[in-house]
C-alpha cells in the first residue's frame, strides 16, 4: 500500500469488491466491539483511512504477546489491517537486523514525527537499566526516546500495561509499566497475559478507522473490550447464581461444568472479553476449558493471594496471630478486672479505716 493511497483505494486496487469491503467492515466493527449499526460509519471512515506508521518495542517480555498476535486469525481480515499499517520496527517480525534495524526505527521516527504509533510489550526495568538493553540502549532510554514524538502509545500485554510478571513481588529488576515512565502521551493499555489477539488488532483497527484513541476505562484500557468483567458475561454464571460450584477439579461439579468460584476463579474481579470473544478463533476460553480465570488482565494478578484461593478468602496471614490477639485480649481483660477489683478493695479498706 502506497502511503498516499487511502485504504479504500488500496483494497480496490487489490481487487476487493465493495461486498468484500463491507464484509471486512462488519468483521472490523465486530472486532472493535462496535454495534452492527456502526458498520456504515466504519465503512465510511475506513475507506478514507490513511496508513499509519507503527513502531513496536519489546522490553522485559516473553514474546507471548507477539506470539498471540501472530497466531490470530491468519491472513485475511486482521492481516489486511496489518497490511494497512506500516510496521516499521518489530524485533521479532522484521527482516532487518543490527544497525539496520535501529536505523529503520530512527528513520520511521523522523519521517512520521508526531504521527506514528508506538506499541510496547514488556515491562521496563528501572532497578538497574542494564537488566535489559537493545543495541546497547537501555529499555528506559529507548522508550523515552521513541515515545517523545509518538502520536500515542499502545501498551500490549500486562507487563507493559501494569508491570506484569517482572513486576511481581519481589520485583528483582524494579520493573515498571509504560505509564510509569511516559506521562505526557495518550497510552492505551491492552492488558492480558497475553491479550486476546483480536483485541490488539481491534485497537489498531480503531486507530486505522477513526485515527483517535478509543474510550478508556480507569486503568487506561479500551472500554469496549475491558468494560465488563468475565463473571458478568460468563456462560457459567447461572451456576454461580444457583450456588452450584465445583469443589475440586475432578468432582461431579467440575464435570458438569459448574462455577469455578470456589477453585479460585478471578472472573468477578477481572475485566476482559474472554467470555465473549474467546480464544483460538472463538473456540473456548479458560473457564470453558475447566480452569478458573487467573485475572491476567488485572494489575498485580500474580500477587492476589494465589490462583486457587477464592476471591472472598482473606489474605490475612496466620491463625496463630488470631490466637495471639485472643490471648492478649483475655490478658488485658483479666488485668483490667484485677485493677478494678483492687480499687474496690482499696475503697473498702479506706471506708473501714
Amino acid at each position: 500500500m502506497r502511503k498516499d493511497q487511502n485504504l479504500g483505494e488500496y483494497l480496490r486496487a487489490q481487487g476487493v469488491s465493495r461486498r468484500g469491503f463491507l464484509k471486512f467492515c462488519s468483521a472490523t466493527a465486530s472486532l472493535m466491539a462496535l454495534p452492527p449499526s456502526a458498520i456504515a460509519q466504519v465503512a465510511d471512515a475506513l475507506a478514507k483511512a490513511r496508513r499509519p506508521s507503527v513502531i513496536w518495542l519489546s522490553f522485559q517480555e516473553c514474546t507471548g504477546c507477539t506470539e498471540s498476535l501472530t497466531r490470530s486469525h491468519a491472513p485475511t481480515v486482521e492481516s489486511l489491517i496489518f497490511d494497512a499499517i506500516s510496521l516499521d520496527y518489530h524485533h521479532t517480525l522484521q527482516a532487518a537486523a543490527g544497525h539496520g534495524a535501529e536505523a529503520a526505527r530512527m528513520a520511521a521516527m523522523e519521517e512520521n514525527s508526531g504521527e506514528y504509533i508506538l506499541v510496547v510489550d514488556g515491562s521496563i526495568p528501572v532497578g538497574n537499566p542494564a537488566y535489559s538493553t537493545i543495541a546497547g540502549i537501555s529499555n528506559l532510554d529507548m522508550l523515552k526516546e521513541t515515545a517523545a514524538n509518538a502520536f500515542a502509545l499502545v501498551a500490549v500485554g500486562t507487563c507493559a500495561a501494569f508491570g506484569g510478571i517482572p513486576h511481581a513481588n519481589p520485583n528483582p529488576t524494579g520493573a515498571v509499566s509504560v505509564s510509569d515512565i511516559v506521562t505526557d502521551k495518550p497510552i492505551i493499555n491492552v492488558s492480558g497475559c497475553p491479550p486476546i489477539p483480536v483485541v490488539i488488532t481491534g485497537v489498531l483497527a480503531h486507530f486505522l478507522t477513526f485515527g483517535t484513541i478509543p474510550e478508556l476505562d480507569a486503568l487506561g484500557r479500551p472500554a469496549a473490550f475491558f468494560g465488563q468483567n468475565i463473571h458478568d458475561r460468563c456462560y457459567r454464571r447461572p451456576f454461580y447464581e444457583r450456588g452450584q460450584f465445583a469443589e475440586t477439579f475432578d468432582d461431579e461439579g467440575a464435570r458438569k461444568g459448574w462455577c469455578l468460584y470456589k477453585l479460585g476463579c478471578k472472573g468477578p474481579t477481572t475485566y476482559n472479553t474472554c467470555a465473549t470473544l474467546k480464544w483460538n478463533e472463538g473456540t473456548s476460553f479458560p473457564i470453558q476449558s475447566g480452569h478458573g480465570c487467573i485475572g491476567c488482565s488485572e494489575p498485580d494478578f500474580w500477587d492476589k493471594g494465589g490462583f486457587y484461593n477464592p476471591i472472598s478468602a482473606g489474605m490475612w496471614g496466620s491463625r496463630d496471630a488470631l490466637l495471639g490477639a485472643a490471648a492478649a485480649g483475655a490478658a488485658l481483660g483479666v488485668g483490667s478486672a484485677l485493677a478494678a477489683r483492687a480499687r474496690k478493695k482499696k475503697a473498702q479498706a479506706a471506708e473501714e479505716a
Binding site: 470456589k262 482473606g314 490475612w316 491463625r319 488470631l322 485472643a326 492478649a328 483490667s336
Partner: protein
C-alpha cells in the same frame, strides 16, 4: 495496593485481630470481676440445666408478655434468621470463614441469600425507624445504638450491591463491602453488638440465679 487488596489483606487482618482482641478483653474483663458466692441453700435444681435452659427459654417471651412485644419479637426473629442465613450460608462467605477457621459447610443458592439479605436489610431499616420514633426506644437510645445499627446496615447494603453488581465495579463494591465489614468487626467489641457474645453468659447466669430459687428463668 488497590482498595480491594487492602480490604481483603491487611484491613481484614487488623479488623479480625481487633475483633478477637476486643471481644476477649470485654468478656473476660466482665466475668473476671467475679461475684460473691451465693451461700444460700438452693432448692433442688441442676445449675447447668437451669443455665442452659435459660439460654433457650429466653429466646421466646413468656405468654403474658407476648402481645405487648409482638412486633419486636417477630422482627427480632426475622432479622436474626435472615442475617444469619445471609452471613453464614452464602458461598463466598463460607469460603472466607473457611480461610479463617479452616473448615467450611454447605451453602445455599444465591437467590435465597439475596432474598434473606433484602429481608434483613428491610427489617433493620424498620427497626432503625422504630428506634428513632418509638417513645421509649428513642428516649433510651444513645450513639452506640445508632452506630451499631449503621455498621451492620452498611455491610448488608454494600453486600447486596456487590452481589447485584449495582452502583460500581465489582471489585470496588467488594472492597467497600469488606471495609464496611471490617468497620463492623472493629466496632463490635466496643458497642452493643457485643450482645451476640454476652447473650450466653447473661442468660446462663440468669438461669442459675432463678433456678436455685426454683423459678424458671
Amino acid at each position: 495496593m488497590t482498595l480491594l487488596d487492602f480490604a481483603s489483606g491487611p484491613g481484614m487482618q487488623w479488623a479480625l485481630w481487633i475483633f478477637v482482641f476486643g471481644v476477649l478483653w470485654r468478656l473476660v474483663g466482665a466475668l473476671f470481676l467475679l461475684s460473691r458466692k451465693d451461700l444460700t441453700k438452693p432448692r433442688q435444681y441442676n445449675s447447668v440445666a437451669a443455665g442452659l435452659g435459660a439460654i433457650i427459654s429466653r429466646s421466646a417471651p413468656a405468654h403474658a408478655f407476648e402481645k405487648r412485644i409482638l412486633f419486636q419479637h417477630v422482627t427480632g426473629y426475622v432479622w436474626h434468621f435472615a442475617l444469619f442465613i445471609s452471613v453464614l450460608f452464602f458461598a463466598p462467605h463460607i469460603l472466607f470463614f473457611e480461610s479463617v477457621l479452616g473448615f467450611g459447610w454447605p451453602h445455599l443458592p444465591n437467590t435465597i441469600i439475596l432474598i434473606t439479605a433484602i429481608i434483613a436489610t428491610a427489617v433493620l431499616i424498620t427497626l432503625l425507624i422504630r428506634r428513632a420514633t418509638h417513645p421509649v426506644q428513642r428516649f433510651i437510645s444513645n450513639a452506640d445504638d445508632y452506630i451499631s445499627i449503621f455498621v451492620v446496615l452498611i455491610p448488608l447494603i454494600t453486600g447486596i450491591l456487590a452481589f447485584a453488581h449495582v452502583g460500581g465495579r465489582y471489585e470496588t463494591l467488594l472492597a467497600i463491602h469488606l471495609l464496611s465489614v471490617e468497620v463492623m468487626l472493629i466496632w463490635f467489641p466496643f458497642g452493643k453488638l457485643m450482645h451476640a457474645i454476652m447473650t450466653m453468659p447473661a442468660r446462663y447466669q440468669a438461669g442459675t440465679a432463678f433456678g436455685r430459687r426454683g423459678v424458671k428463668a
